[in-house]
């Protein structure tokens, strides 16, 4: 093995890949979340479909997409390698082990949380990405694929909404620990800046997961089968959707 492969197969090297890919995925989440907020526009999905058409056809976005595939690929691969390494470091378990008295739950369950995200990701990719890219969707008034219609009908199925909310909760917990942990792994822990990084990470985790979870919940509880806001909804919601127009 040369120095390069040695570096990135060492325990710290693998963690560094974990951290770089994890933080890269965080930037993706921001873009994805902001784009998806167009679902809240009360316009029959026209703007959202323009946006998804752009994301699906722009050559620059399509290139970055491969970065995303690699990011997920390496993150999951390293998670697997590290978790197996860590499991085999203690084959004889303790009779009494009280880690809950000295550490946070999220930090000890990153693999489980990540696995829930992975299951969600596969369902999510199949239902939206795969069908938009390789399937045939009805055209909307601009002759764009009507992905909006698919989103709205999916978000009227209770089990789908449940899966989304559960997955977003897992993502939130994953990032609650993961954000700060990613900086620590890169060696970016300084007594001046760590409190800021920590608090930013907590806020990031809550805002991102709540933001994504709000979409299925909104359509399930507040809209009709076509995605239009129910007329008997409180005025404040109407004002909120107007804000997105």
């Amino acid at each position: 093995m040369n120095w390069f492969t040695k570096t990135f197969t060492s325990s710290i090297g693998r963690k560094i890949i974990m951290s770089l890919t994890g933080l890269f995925l965080c930037t993706f989440l921001v873009v994805h979340l902001i784009g998806n907020f167009q679902l809240f526009k009360n316009d029959d999905g026209v703007a959202f479909n323009v946006y998804s058409h752009f994301m699906g056809h722009n050559p620059i976005i399509r290139t970055i997409e491969w970065g995303l595939v690699l990011g997920f690929g390496f993150h999951i691969y390293e998670a697997l390698m590290l978790t197996t390494r860590n499991k085999s470091a203690r084959s004889h378990k303790y009779d009494q082990f009280h880690a809950e008295q000295n550490s946070e739950w999220t930090s000890r369950n990153m693999g489980i949380l990540g696995s829930i995200i992975l299951i969600f990701l596969l369902v999510h990719l199949y239902n939206f990405f795969w069908r938009a890219r390789f399937g045939t969707l009805d055209p909307d008034i601009n002759k764009n694929d009507d992905l909006y219609k698919l989103v709205v009908s999916s978000f009227h199925q209770w089990w789908y909404v449940l899966l989304y909310v559960a997955a977003q909760a897992s993502l939130g917990y994953h990032l609650w620990h993961g954000f700060r942990s990613g900086f620590q792994t890169l060696g970016l822990n300084h007594r001046k800046y760590m409190p800021l990084i920590k608090n930013f990470g907590y806020a990031f985790a809550v805002i991102v997961s709540a933001g994504f979870a709000s979409m299925p919940l909104y359509f399930f509880f507040f809209t009709n089968e076509k995605g239009a806001l129910l007329s008997d909804m409180p005025a404040v919601l109407h004002q909120l959707t107007l804000a997105f127009n």
């Binding site: 120095w3 325990s11 710290i12 470091a89 203690r90 004889h92 009494q96 890169l186």
Partner: protein, 261 residues
């Protein structure tokens, strides 16, 4: 023994102790009763009482590691009620006192569990993996010749203090024992950052971190997931900041050292 404080009420306890005859044989947890334990005793003195009882009954006493009994050698590696060195923060087992327990308590005592720390007998484990990591790079080379004046090397006070804090690691292994991943990162990071902070450590700075991390991986310790159990259980309070320093040292060494192997 219990004489000094007449108000200290003696306790009766049930101990669940890991017994294992040797490395090759599988062990099990055995229950024992101990009576009239003074709250002023240290945990190890309580085990001495148990062992005296066992000797009187013609049984094999429980093997456990200890040496200084004043919190500086790091030998007394017992996993007590699911925690390294028991429930009290910032102590070794020898500095843990029985007043932290109540009359009638059941206390589970296990050895450090990590594949890199094989059990010798009962509660005594082999921590020579730590020695091999230190041998791989946890030292500075000092040339012979006229002794230099120590005060000639200026070191800012806060740097000296941080290096000293890192240097207080007693190599007890509580960090490995408490970590879900049995990771030795806190131990390794303490030595790496102590020497990286000081001028004397600069000569071997890059090779040190490369070799110590390589040895840590060879020994089979787990990888760090930044859980923080280690720092919470460390008897001398080595902080997670040291692990960040270790990662930084490792990355810069790997990126910039002349070592191609």
């Amino acid at each position: 023994m219990a004489g000094s404080n007449p108000n200290a009420k003696p306790m009766n306890l049930t101990l669940r102790v890991w017994r294992q005859p040797n490395r090759q044989t599988e062990g099990r947890i055995v229950d024992y009763k101990v009576k009239d334990i003074s709250p002023e005793m240290s945990f190890l003195e309580m085990l001495d009482v148990l062992n005296e009882d066992l000797l009187h009954q013609g049984q094999d006493p429980v093997a456990f590691d200890h040496d200084c009994r004043e919190g500086i050698c790091g030998s007394c590696d017992l996993f007590i009620n699911g925690r390294s060195h028991g429930p009290e923060k910032g102590t070794t087992t020898c500095q843990l006192h029985m007043r932290k327990f109540k009359d009638g308590d059941t206390i589970t005592i296990e050895p450090w569990r990590a594949n890199s720390f094989p059990v010798n007998k009962d509660l005594s484990v082999d921590r020579s993996a730590f020695d091999r990591i230190i041998q791989a790079g946890g030292y500075v080379s000092v040339n012979t010749g006229g002794a230099p004046d120590g005060n000639e090397i200026p070191i800012p006070k806060d740097i000296a203090d941080r290096a000293f804090e890192a240097a207080t690691c007693i190599g007890c292994g509580a960090c490995v024992a408490a970590c879900k991943n049995a990771s030795a990162m806190l131990f390794v990071s303490a030595k790496v950052s102590q020497l990286a902070l000081l001028p004397q450590g600069q000569v071997e700075r890059a090779t040190r971190v490369e070799n110590m991390v390589a040895q840590m991986d060879i020994e089979g310790f787990g990888a760090c997931t930044n859980i923080g159990s280690c720092a919470a259980e460390c008897p001398v309070g080595i902080s997670l900041e040291n692990i960040a320093i270790l990662n930084r040292e490792f990355l810069t060494a790997k990126a910039a050292s002349n070592n191609l192997a």
